[in-house]
């Protein structure tokens, strides 16, 4: 046993390269679908959580706590093995049939139990967290904002949509971004139910030619790059912080004024 000799060529070219590329794309596909599911469900959960009925709130709390406090691996296994089996026979047959239109480049099948269970499982899991982040963001909006809106004749729904939620989103944007990044990273666990995303493909390469170090390095680099890019993009796209983002021109003027003050102070001394 000598030192490690790295050979990325054997991992990036040929069949292993095809597998890795296919895995990259599958991770992106399942993350995008999972994010959409998570966003829609989070809004529904939030609505139930803050509805003016204790009973409805209790239902939302129960759902949120179950999904936040159980391992996502267990949830994947549940959706894939248990829940899918409860679907009507016709639906299951349709999902497992061959559908050429549902095969994306590099042989990624998106109408398949693995993909549906993974996207749905990620969506439900992250939705529970998103709903709680949004609620925290809402709670941080001062009560006076609601009173002002009510006193102007807005309905509660309008108050929520026009006044409270925009400020709540600005309050909790960073934690929300973190949850979407978590979703992307947690998609790796869907390899356990056979979803051929990047982690699954990395292991396949490893068992094919034993270049474990190179394969895992590439997989890690992929998660890191996508995570950094996504974090930057979502952060930049985020809503303005309350009070508005200071404009570049304003910042420049302020800097100039401060410089002038410093110069003045220096000449006084």
């Amino acid at each position: 046993m000598g030192g490690i000799t790295l050979n990325f060529g054997d991992v990036l070219a040929g069949q292993p390269g095809q597998w890795l590329l296919s895995g990259f794309l599958m991770t992106l596909y399942v993350s995008i679908a999972g994010s959409l599911v998570a966003t829609v469900l989070a809004v529904v959960l939030l609505a139930l959580r803050i509805a003016p009925s204790r009973a409805i709130n209790a239902i939302a709390i129960a759902i949120i706590e179950v999904f936040r406090n159980t391992p996502i691996l267990v949830q994947f296994l549940f959706w894939y093995f248990a829940a899918f089996g409860l679907l009507p026979r016709a639906v299951r047959d349709y999902v497992t049939d061959n559908h050429p239109w549902a095969v994306l480049p590099f042989n990624n099948v998106v109408l398949a139990p693995e993909y549906l269970a993974a996207a749905w499982g990620l969506g439900v899991f992250i939705a529970a967290f998103l709903a709680e982040e949004l609620r925290a963001g809402l709670n941080a909006v001062p009560k006076g904002q609601t009173e002002a809106a009510i006193s102007q004749g807005f309905t509660y729904g309008e108050t929520l949509r026009l006044i409270l939620l925009p400020q709540a989103l600005a309050n909790c944007w960073q934690p929300l971004v973190t949850q979407y990044l978590n979703l992307m990273k947690l998609s790796s666990i869907a390899s356990a139910i056979g979803l051929a995303e990047i982690t699954y493909q990395v292991r396949q390469v490893e068992s094919y030619n034993s270049h474990a170090f190179e394969a895992f390095a590439i997989g890690t680099a992929f998660y890191l790059l996508v995570g950094l890019a996504l974090g930057q993009a979502l952060g930049a796209l985020g809503p303005h912080p309350p009070g508005g983002r200071p404009r570049r021109a304003d910042l420049a003027a302020e800097k100039e004024a401060r410089a002038a003050e410093v110069a003045e102070a220096a000449s006084d001394a």
Binding site: A148, S151, Q152, F154, P242, G244
Partner: protein, 256 residues
């Protein structure tokens, strides 16, 4: 009676209870059109609760409020929201919408509650901002404005839907002293334009100079209701006299 002479707001035997706490214990008050009423009293006396009942930020426990001769205590839903657009409310903490600039703060209700097109709503908002001396601050966000400027935007916002009445809940209590004047100056213009104002305040000079009548409220009841000359010159109720002594010369009133 000529409807123009009929009082705009009539409070009849108004009560407010929070559980076992009886905050307002039977308030009667008639407010004429275009009148300015200052409401003063010790903290916890129920003066803020009183004006919050008029636009129903609080629920009425007992009694009736007539506005324009119409009993409103039973109003809910759409009728209540319509009533609220007829009554402006200005808060101690301004409560400007933090994510909107001054122009949008003033025009939002015009667009979304009154259904005006954006151009019309913004033209009206510009007019109002000019009226409170902030035409040049239309694009500024609340966090970029001083307290006095924020409160003036809040007054413009309260005026957006052309209310007959504007209620003020300690509008200058959160301001630095040098900014109180600019807000009071905007407020005293309103009665001149036929707008009825009820002002809960600690500004005795405003009560003295601008109010048509001053109400002293303590223990959940109006104990005294007089024009300022009478109110400050010859208060009849002993509690009024004690309160005025405390606020007008706090040091000599303090018991060692």
């Amino acid at each position: 009676m000529n409807p123009a002479d009929a009082p705009l707001i009539v409070l009849k035997n108004l009560h407010k209870r929070y559980g076992s706490l009886h905050v307002l214990r039977g308030v009667d008050l008639e407010v004429a059109r275009g009148e300015a009423i200052a409401i003063i009293g010790p903290s916890g006396s129920g003066k803020s609760t009183l004006i919050r009942l008029i636009n129903r930020l609080e629920t009425i426990s007992e009694g009736e409020i007539f506005i324009d001769g119409m009993p409103t205590a039973s109003f809910t839903g759409r009728r209540l929201r319509e009533l609220r657009t007829e009554i402006g409310f200005v808060f101690q903490q301004f409560n400007l919408y933090g994510h909107l600039n001054a122009l949008d703060n003033v025009s939002l209700a015009l667009r979304k509650v009154r259904g005006l097109p954006r151009a019309k709503a913004e033209a009206r908002a510009h007019e109002l901002l000019e009226r409170v001396g902030l035409a040049d601050k239309a694009r500024q966000y609340p966090a970029q404005l001083s307290g006095g400027q924020q409160q003036r935007v809040a007054i413009a916002r309260a005026l957006a839907t052309d209310p007959k009445t504007v209620l003020f809940d300690e509008p200058t209590s959160a301001l630095d002293p040098e900014m109180i004047g600019e807000v009071l100056a905007v407020m005293q213009e309103l009665p001149k334009n036929g707008i009825t104002i009820l002002v809960v305040t600690h500004e005795m000079s405003f009560a003295r100079e601008v109010a048509d009548r001053v109400a002293f409220i303590d223990g959940g009841k109006i104990l005294e209701l007089e024009p300022p000359a009478q109110f400050f010159g010859a208060p009849s109720h002993p509690r009024t006299r004690r309160f005025l002594k405390q606020v007008l010369s706090p040091l000599s009133a303090a018991e060692p």
